[in-house]
């Protein structure tokens, strides 16, 4: 049996994955701090199936997906609890389940206990990795400086926001809510990132590039159509072959 149908099939499966990831990127075009996802494909060479000396059949393999780490645009919101990161660092969070997670979404709110939390309810961690709680009476008067120090005119320095350096972010698992968690076996002792600046009153918008994604949609669709065409021509060939072989030759 020919391999061509299966080669096309491996491409079709990969392109569907590509479409799903592109659709997810586009759906999150307005999610603050969202980092676009990219898929990685590679060819898998099956040497046994080759007939030529250097031959073999290449299939498309779905290898993995990775986080596009580029900075998103900063959007001014004037909300004193909105913080954008300028640099490569990540915010640290503690989820409701007690997991330590990382992300770039700086749209913070205070909960009823005065703790700084994300809108999904994950607690924001300070530079030392502990949760941040603010006294109840400071309200809108707090200022956050470029190094993350939270202070208010009356109460002085209250806490310091943490920015963490995560060179191994590609191995992290996305759990939604803008959060990435380190793999279970990796006890990520995240180091503080001193380079990253905090910008109060702004939010980092999603780094999804709409034009690129829409272009990718078009390219994905065209490649899909090509793979389908390849399958039909292979099918036509086989049909032709069968009808010729079956015909008496006199």
């Amino acid at each position: 049996m020919d391999n061509s149908a299966y080669v096309s099939l491996s491409l079709l499966t990969a392109l569907e994955r590509q479409l799903d990831v592109t659709a997810n990127n586009l759906a999150n075009v307005n999610s603050s701090g969202f980092k676009a996802e990219r898929v990685l494909f590679e060819s898998y060479l099956q040497p046994e199936s080759g007939t030529a000396e250097d031959g073999g059949t290449n299939y498309v393999l779905d290898r993995g997906s990775y986080v596009d780490r580029r900075q998103g645009a900063l959007v001014r919101t004037d909300n004193p609890l909105d913080v954008a990161l300028n640099g490569t660092g990540w915010f640290g969070y503690r989820t409701a389940e007690g997991q330590t997670a990382y992300g770039r979404d700086g749209g913070f709110v205070l909960d009823a206990q005065g703790r700084l939390v994300t809108q999904s309810g994950a607690q924001v961690l300070d530079a030392a990795g502990g949760p941040i709680a603010l006294p109840p009476d400071i309200g809108g008067t707090l200022t956050i400086s470029a190094d993350g120090t939270i202070s208010s005119p009356g109460a002085g320095v209250l806490a310091q926001l943490g920015a963490f350096d995560l060179p191994q972010i590609q191995s992290f698992e996305r759990i939604g809510g803008g959060l990435l968690v380190p793999p279970a076996d990796q006890d990520a002792a995240a180091l503080p990132d001193a380079e990253t600046q905090f910008i109060q009153g702004s939010i980092e918008s999603s780094n999804v590039e709409a034009i690129t994604e829409v272009t990718r949609l078009v390219a994905t669709q065209q490649a899909y159509q090509r793979a389908v065409n390849l399958m039909s021509s292979e099918d036509d060939l086989r049909k032709d072959m069968l009808s010729r072989i079956g015909r008496p030759s006199f």
Binding site: D62, G64, R174, G178
Partner: protein, 261 residues
Amino acid sequence: MKALGIAATGMMAQQTNVDVISNNIANANTTGFKSSRASFTDLIYENMAREGALTAQEGTTRPTGIDVGMGVRTAGTVRLNTQGGLVQTENQLDLAVDGRGYFAVNLPEGGQAYTRDGSLRLSPEGQIVNEQGYEIDPGIVLPDNTTRVEVSETGIVSAYVEDEPIPVEVGQLTLSTFVNDAGMRPIGNNLLQSTVASGDPIAAVPGEPGVGILRQGYLESSNVNIISQITDLIVAQRAYEMNSKAIETADQMMSAANQIK
């Protein structure tokens, strides 16, 4: 093909976005109104291949997994509690809060609500009420024959009665503050209610540290920035179109798959 469902979550999110923006624009002239912003976050992910899983017998591990996101959800709408502009009205019962704090009003069905709308009125009994006729808490009753009312920056209400040159102090207005203003629930009519997320109200005298002062003869206008709202509206429309493009693409790919014989 998950893309159809994923793109649908994107379109729904942009609809919510447009709903919130249009409510802001509709309330651009509402006294004491605070604009909201819808905030979005990614939905759950399907982990098709785990990071760190073994890929070969030699013990090499997969450096990246395959995470396919399932779209977007609305994380919440955040009310932006910045100060609105103060508009002079000359009306002696118009009060604007300059700084933090809300007037507390007693709801007729019991319980309290909070408002930044200081356009106050008098009930037939001389009681200070808000525009819906709900009493301001603490209750203040002006004496009969009051010719003029003075409200100090710290909330002391004094009434000038007939020809008396010396005013009578009739009460003290207080303001309520909350740990998390953004967690209050709007109930319409410029009123907000406290919730578990906002914390309990903390009553304070105007002018205390961290609490605003009162300005008599002014009203606080809404803090809606029309230019940024219109810009956000355009951004939302384009994002909606892009998601519908993703649906179109998924549809065409499925129809191509149907041609396979």
